[in-house]
Amino acid sequence: GGGKKSAENNAATSIKIDGSSTVYPLSEAVAEEFRTEQPNVNVTVGESGTGGGFKKFSRGETDISDASRPITAEEMEACKTAGINFIELPVAYDGLAVVVSKQNTFIDHITVAELKKLWEPAAQGTVKTWDQIRSSWPKEPINLYGPGTASGTFDYFTEAICGKKGASRGDYTASEDDNVLVQGVANDKGGLAYFGLSYFESNSDKLKLVPVDGGNGPIAPSQETVSNGTYAPLSRPMFIYVNTKAVERKEVQGFVKFYIENAEKLSKDVGSVPLQSNEYKMVLSRFAAKTTGTIFTEGKTSVGMSMADLLNKQEGK
């Protein structure tokens, strides 16, 4: 019908991006910069969530889908049935910061095991005071804050810490909006939260960052440590998925290239963490090669793998 026709007409001058709200700032920044490059191309960016983005993507309604998690099997299936092929491109990291209130004086670092003890489903209703985690900590009540269960951050954190997606205690304070979590934990002496690193950076006056010991000693997240993978396992990759059909359009091709080339610089601007420079090269070549499909084999996740490894693995395959 008319919709399709108009979509094709618009395709000449516009690029549609939709999906994750985590990736949104980066895509927005790229789109903004791209305007100076090619003012005639209208790039639009939406934020209907990774799930919503993939739904549209799989129906051919968008050219590029922002995602804060890898595409799922069902979503791939949907793309397949609709005859849509995609190129999966990691563009940056989202570091997950574990924070406590400035008023909290006793926590200086935390181990992954302790985090697990704190967050695993079994902890629900039983782990209530800090001394249960580490005996040197005071017997004060624990208040946990975390992203909403429908978010990729939640999925990633639970998988990274508790070993299984969604494996988390339920009795914590959840919110979709990380600013809300900031508000919550900032005023809560017994509180602990995890959310995007950028939210810590903007609120470092109110919050205390907790270094995480993933086996190599406590490491505080920073652009540096996240980017080079030393801050593990709490950093997750962000992706864009490009429709191969759209790639046939020159402006899309140009845009994606521009995206990859500028992601390093721009992700710092918007508060996310860039990949390593070499990794961008690999991504660029992946795009140039129009390698379709995901780098994540079914069931496997991104946890604990460096992006370079993953990309290499894919190349190798």
Binding site: S48, G51, N143, G148, S151, A167, Y172, S175
Partner: protein, 292 residues
């Protein structure tokens, strides 16, 4: 010729009126298709009796009651605020305040209904909760109480303005009768005016409740997203609307069971409002007072 014109106009009007029916049908169909799929995997019994709601966790439980409880709890708190405050304000504006004051205060209060609800959400979270925590130390950072309170403030104008309209519509003669019998203003307002305006007041309250039940952002921001089967207002809870907005705009894959659960939740909410509206219709019929 004229007949044809009249007939075609009527046909057009019927079409417009049936749009509301189509809308309802559309909502029901869209919710039902997915809900039907959902219930192929989840037992209806569990859904309506379960007290745990963890569709996004590793161990998935689909008991809607926590969400229903959360919805009812915040709505209840909002109404507990808006009803007495709104009615008191309505009575005050109608019976005590002079006309000029009323002409200023009424539109001012109506502004409360026009403020974007996100703003209210942050107000609840960053202002009301900390203040309340000074009084109630056990209050958690996200809680039904402050979300409900602020939501109550938001819907005050629904109650105050609409009820005030209803009170104004009560014939002057009735008020004069009450004064003539030697009633005080208080007695006049509560023993005569309010009962006489009951139909309009009920409608206003129902509208306010509907608004509160359907309200999303305030509860999403300030009440938390923790589905708990509790009626303790000091705790963080989750409402049906919060759940729907969280999932539908989150990262969950859209053709998954998790995603479908929002349709089941949606239809539950739809049913809840439906019951409520039937009750209100019934109450309205029962208490409706006609003055010509």
């Amino acid at each position: 010729m004229q007949k044809i014109k009249e007939k075609s106009i009527e046909a057009f009007l019927i079409l417009c009126a049936s749009i509301t029916v189509f809308t309802t049908l559309g909502i029901i169909v869209i919710l039902s298709i997915e809900t039907f799929q959902f219930f192929r995997e989840v037992s209806v019994f569990e859904f309506f009796t379960g007290t745990e709601w963890t569709p996004l966790f590793a161990i998935k439980k689909y008991g809607i009651l926590p969400l229903v409880a959360g919805t009812l709890l915040t709505t209840l708190i909002a109404i507990a605020v808006a009803l007495p405050l709104g009615l008191t304000i309505a009575v005050y504006l109608n019976e005590y305040a002079d006309q000029r004051l009323k002409a200023v205060i009424k539109p001012l209060l109506e502004i409360l209904a026009a403020i974007p609800t996100v703003v209210y959400g942050f107000f609840a979270l960053t202002f009301v909760t900390p203040v309340l925590q000074k009084i109630i130390p056990s209050l958690s950072g996200f809680n039904a109480l402050s979300a409900g309170l602020v939501m109550g403030v938001m819907i005050i104008p629904y109650v105050s303005s609409l009820s005030e309209d209803a009170l104004s519509a009560v014939p002057k003669s009735l008020r004069e009768a009450a004064y003539g019998m030697g009633s005080t203003r208080l007695q006049t307002a509560f023993k005569v005016m309010l009962p006489a305006a009951s139909s309009g007041v009920i409608v206003s309250v129902i509208l306010a409740i509907s608004r509160a039940i359907g309200e999303t952002m305030i509860v999403a921001v300030a009440a938390g997203q923790e589905p708990k089967f509790t009626f303790n207002p000091l705790q963080s809870i989750e409402t049906i609307t919060t759940y729907i907005v969280q999932v539908s705009m989150g990262d969950v894959p859209q053709n998954s069971l998790e995603f479908r659960s929002i349709f089941a939740a949606g239809i539950t909410l739809f049913g809840l409002t439906f019951i409520l509206n039937n009750i209100s219709y019934w109450m309205k019929q029962k208490y409706q007072q006609k003055y010509e």
